[in-house]
């Protein structure tokens, strides 16, 4: 009975729906083109998901707390480009560690500014982030530089080809499991534990569920807001550096316009923009779904417009999922009541 209940609960989660979609997509794509079932393809999808997953993990706590931020992409672009230009100027030749350290610190500071504006003037996170989004992209191009830079210090130049495993495949060529999937794993597990097993993490859910009640219960809303904004800034910058290193250039306008893709992935993973819902594993699967749809294009020869249409349809389904589930529940409840 207890076990039954637990299973039932898992089936009712949005994460389970996302998982089902991944399975269904795999079957469909694989049946059209069996080349889909290969290690190479898996590694390829994972590699394409690395940066998005990390950004999604950073944004997720903000969304759970009931806010929507778009400035994280600008923070990522600004901090990683600024770090790179600074390290180039001082003639840095070392490894990736200092890149991550400096960029994440800048990101955390940027998040701190967002948090300050939101709490000090009692503003909506979205409004502040809209301003910051524009501001940081402007800032980096005006003060730091607007040119793409391909000069990588010796210590980081080969990072793009650090693989844990390499496979060869006639369709994808030589592909490998890039070492940065470990970053995804590390950050993902950390955020998941934070959200599930710390009082602060539960406070994030509580605040998203009901702000007033959270205040009445004694949660410090300001602390939570500061925390999620700074965490987001730091992790976004981490994703920014990773993206630039993998692409072997630093660009001040990376991710411009891609903030909505990250938000879409989080929603596909079962989060709600009104707050209180969402999970790390769900967000990861959301990113995978989007990447699979992109791959499906190449593998099945379906036109490019199909991608956006498909993601859009899935989004419609997901934002209405709680409603569909609840009305379905209500119907079954009613009919069981009416049975004599």
């Amino acid at each position: 009975m207890v076990k039954n209940n637990m299973l039932k609960r898992i089936f009712e989660t949005t994460e389970f729906v996302t998982f089902t979609i991944i399975v269904v997509l795999s079957v469909i794509i694989g049946s059209i083109n069996p080349a889909f079932y290969s290690w190479g393809m898996l590694f390829d999808i994972l590699r394409a998901s690395i940066v998005f997953s990390i950004m999604a993990f950073g944004l997720l706590p903000v969304i759970i707390s009931g806010g929507v931020d778009i400035s994280f992409v600008a923070i990522a672009a600004m901090s990683s480009y600024a770090t790179h230009m600074y390290l180039l100027r001082i003639g840095y030749e070392g490894g990736i560690l200092l890149y991550y350290l400096i960029a994440c610190s800048i990101g955390i500071l940027a998040g701190l500014i967002n948090g300050f504006l939101v709490t000090r003037f009692d503003l909506l996170i979205f409004n502040v982030s809209l301003a910051m989004y524009t501001m940081w992209y402007g800032f980096v191009r005006f003060f730091i530089g607007s040119e793409r830079n391909h000069n990588l210090p010796a210590g980081v130049a080969n990072f793009y080809s650090r693989f844990l495993l390499i496979v060869e495949n006639q369709f994808t060529g030589v592909t490998g499991l890039h070492v940065s999937v470990l970053f995804v794993l590390g950050i993902g597990v950390t955020i998941a534990l934070l959200l599930r097993y710390t009082t602060l993490g539960r406070g994030i859910y509580a605040m998203g569920g009901s702000r007033d009640v959270a205040i009445r219960c004694g949660f410090n809303i300001k602390t939570i807001t500061f925390f999620v904004m700074m965490l987001m800034g730091g992790i976004a910058s981490f994703a920014g550096v990773t993206f630039n290193l993998l692409s072997r250039f630093f660009d001040p306008t990376i991710f411009l316009g891609q903030e909505l893709d990250v938000i879409a992935a989080i929603i596909l993973g079962g989060a709600s923009l009104s707050g209180g819902r969402g999970s790390v594993i769900g967000s990861f699967m959301g990113v995978i779904v989007i990447q699979m749809i992109h791959r499906a294009l190449i593998l099945t020869g379906i036109p490019v417009e199909w991608q956006d249409l498909m993601v859009g349809i899935l989004l419609v389904f997901f934002i209405s999922f709680p409603f569909i589930r609840d009305s379905f529940k209500k119907l079954t409840l009613k009919s069981s009541l009416q049975k004599p």
Binding site: Y197, T199, Y205, A206, G209, S210, V213, G275, G276
Partner: protein
């Protein structure tokens, strides 16, 4: 356990010149069930907020267990065992029952890490203390109102409450759930926990109170043992006048009136089925039943919100189909919703705009612009006719008290001259004085020839107003009562008894 006691002495509180509390004293002893009664604006909520530390009194003192407080802080009030259960129950809808129950302890103990097993243990203990069993893994937002209330009570007990203050706790409960709540309250009393029950449902007050305190205009006007205190006396003290005259409706003269509405075999899948009845001009027909019996969805279907999927509706002898709200309005049906805040009013808009909202088409000139002076004239007329208490029609609707808001909703529909008026819980959350006036208004409307469907679970309200009462259960009509052939107790029994043999 040492005896516990709360006293408030000579409390004064005013807001911008308006005296909310004027030299009020009261005391509550360990294990007492005290009901605090009063119309809206009588100072009940101000008193609660002073006791719980949300407001500070201008003058006066609180004495808790011998400690004197000039002003108490919210946290100190909680530490002294004062717990308020607000109408939203202070629960997180997105968290499980277990977490909702354990989270206060988690925060107050300053723990940084969450132990989920510990959560479940704390939660199970808390629920065991009030002898209820609720699935700990369900999300609080998916529970019924009654269950959420029990969780809130368990939460209060767990923070070592010595007095639990309940603000209008029965508003969204069915009769059966109210009885369950009362037995929990009596159980708490046995454990020495005092209850301050704030309500204006006098039948309930009579049933549960050991002592009744009545406030009127910021003053305490009655404080006595509930033994032998009848509802009429309570009403008198609450309003300061005899309400009797309002409640004796004139005998109906409906024999030769034609049917204005006929409903035949109306069904909506999952909600109600095979509903047939007739409504005559000038008749007040009551439709009642427990929550979930289909009374509410029937009303919505007749108003075109959720069109029925089977059955016939005849209005004035002609068969019509009501596919949406617009067609309902065309057929001169008006609907006053249950939840006026969410469904009936634009709270931030002016009273004037609210009143003309359903008649706006008629106020437009050839260019589809609104004739402003006519709009003002029309709304002023209704403000006057329905005795809406406001200095100006330009003020936002949210500036009005509950009873006056309800009148604005009524005015909105009456301005449209409906033939049939559907009232869904017209006096929910309205104080006794306004309630009597709304009842009077309903009866006047019926006398003028309007057909009225009064949907309510307020049994006295039905008995006093309706010519006939239809009782619904599980989406079907289960019985029908004529005026004068049923009293409140019988109707109550039919409603609850119904449930008993329906479920068990």
């Amino acid at each position: 356990m040492a005896d516990w006691e709360l006293r408030a002495e000579n409390i004064y509180k005013s807001f911008g010149g308006v005296k909310a509390l004027d030299d009020v004293s009261l005391e509550i002893k360990q294990g007492e069930i005290v009901c605090l009664v009063g119309e809206n604006g009588s100072g009940k909520s101000t008193m609660i907020k002073i006791i719980s530390g949300v407001y500070s009194a201008d003058k006066g003192e609180l004495i808790i267990n011998g400690h004197r407080y000039r002003n108490i802080s919210p946290i100190e009030s909680i530490r002294k065992g004062i717990q308020v259960i607000y109408q939203d129950f202070s629960l997180f809808p997105n968290l499980t029952v277990a977490e909702n129950l354990a989270i206060n302890d988690q925060i107050s103990s300053g723990k940084k890490w969450v132990n989920w097993r510990e959560y479940r243990r704390i939660a199970a203990e808390g629920l065991a203390e009030i002898h209820v069993s609720i699935d700990l893994d369900q999300l609080a937002g998916q529970m019924s109102t009654a269950d959420r209330q029990l969780i809130a009570i368990a939460k209060a007990i767990m923070s070592e409450a010595r007095i639990i203050i309940m603000d209008e706790p029965t508003t969204a409960l069915t009769q059966k759930e109210i009885q369950a709540l009362f037995s929990t309250i009596r159980h708490l009393k046995e454990r020495g926990i005092a209850i301050l029950f704030v309500s204006h449902k006098l039948t309930e007050v009579k049933e549960i109170a050991e002592r009744t305190i009545i406030f009127r205009n910021g003053k305490k006007v009655l404080d006595r043992d509930s033994q032998g205190l009848d509802i009429k006396t309570m009403e008198y003290y609450m309003t300061g006048r005899e309400l009797d005259s309002f409640w004796s409706a004139s005998a109906s003269k409906l024999k030769d009136k034609e049917n204005i509405l006929e409903v035949k075999d109306l069904s909506l899948a999952g909600e109600f089925s095979d509903i047939s009845f007739q409504l005559k001009r000038g008749e007040i027909l009551g439709i009642t039943g427990l929550l979930g019996s289909g009374r509410g969805s029937l009303a919505l279907s007749l108003f075109g919100v959720t069109p029925p999927n089977k059955g016939k509706i005849r209005i004035g002898g002609n068969e019509v189909s009501i596919k949406n709200i617009q067609s309902a309005i065309q057929h001169k049906i008006g609907y006053v919703p249950e939840d006026r805040i969410r469904e009936g009013l634009f709270l931030d808009q002016s009273i004037e705009d609210n009143i003309v909202a359903s008649t706006i088409d008629k106020l437009m000139n050839k260019l589809s612009l609104i004739r402003d002076h006519e709009k003002t004239g029309l709304s002023e007329d209704w403000i006057h006719r329905l005795n809406i208490k406001t200095p100006s029609g330009a003020l936002p609707a949210k500036s009005l008290s509950g009873g006056n808001q309800q009148r604005v909703v009524l005015a909105k529909w009456l301005a449209n001259n409906p033939d049939i008026l559907i009232l869904n819980g017209p006096t929910v959350g309205v104080d006794v004085g306004s309630k009597a006036e709304i009842h009077q208004l309903i009866q006047n409307l019926a006398e003028q020839g309007m057909g009225i469907l009064l949907i309510s679970d307020d049994i006295p309200e039905l008995i006093y107003n309706c010519d006939r009462i239809i009782l619904m259960r599980d989406g079907k009509i289960s019985s029908e009562f004529e005026r004068g052939k049923v009293n409140a107790e019988e109707l109550n029994k039919a409603m609850i008894g119904n449930l008993m043999d329906g479920k068990e």
